[in-house]
Symmetry: C2
Subunit: 140 residues, 2 copies
């Protein structure tokens, strides 16, 4: 049975759910950072998904990318499945600005995570939800 990896659970808040994936926002305030986690147990790599799930993940990823492009006007999006530490398949979407803490390097391991202050995190979740009309709100 699919269960979100404890590390992802600890480091993110839930934005909502697509048909395939949980949509999570990283608590690291250094960068707008959305993570898709396909709700499939025991999958580490995209190619291990069946064809229908592969296409759905691509579709959900592009929806997130377009929403982040519109919301954050990034210089570049960084989209990646890495998973060296957390093997459960999860796809990072990071909106990168030339003024951010790690630019132009990758974000993983670059600088310590920064906490969102006040209700910035809640506002961000609301903004992303508004940009993803096909998202289902989770009751969890």
């Amino acid at each position: 049975m699919f269960q979100l990896h404890e590390r992802l659970l600890a480091d993110t808040v839930l934005i909502g759910e697509f048909p395939l994936s949980l949509v999570l926002l990283s608590k690291d305030a250094n960068y707008p950072w959305v993570i898709l986690v396909p709700a499939r147990a025991g999958v580490k790599e995209i190619y291990q998904l069946d064809q229908e799930d592969r296409l759905q993940l691509l579709h959900e990823s592009c929806l997130v990318a377009e929403a982040m492009e519109a919301l954050f006007k990034p210089h570049k999006l960084n989209i990646a499945t890495i998973g060296n530490v957390v093997p459960q398949l999860h796809m990072h979407h990071v909106a990168r600005l030339e003024t951010d803490a790690a630019w132009p390097g990758p974000v993983w391991g670059a600088v310590p995570a920064l906490q969102y202050s006040g209700n910035v995190l809640d506002d961000l979740v609301a903004d992303i939800r508004d940009s993803l009309p096909s998202l289902v709100m989770s009751s969890k």
Copy 2:
């Protein structure tokens, strides 16, 4: 007109061509590292490809991932479109081992590139070609 970015040209050798993408091998001997570059001009992000190209890129990426899995038996594949330095859309596929130079961190900027010795690079290109029967050999 599509033209491979000079940085990618300098840092890789051509393995062959899929219907959409050039298939390149990084000259960095630290990790088996294949890069797909969709032959489309002016594209920075996956979502900017039309639907047909998106699906083709996903298909080509999964072929590369499965071939690398079989060839290198990695602990994890790292698949990413980053492009902070080279904006031309290119998708990294890196076979990661727990014994490699950057594990468990990401490979980008981790350690200086290492040169392949003797004909190891040529042998590797041949092995990857053999694992990707749908690849077209380039005459370039």
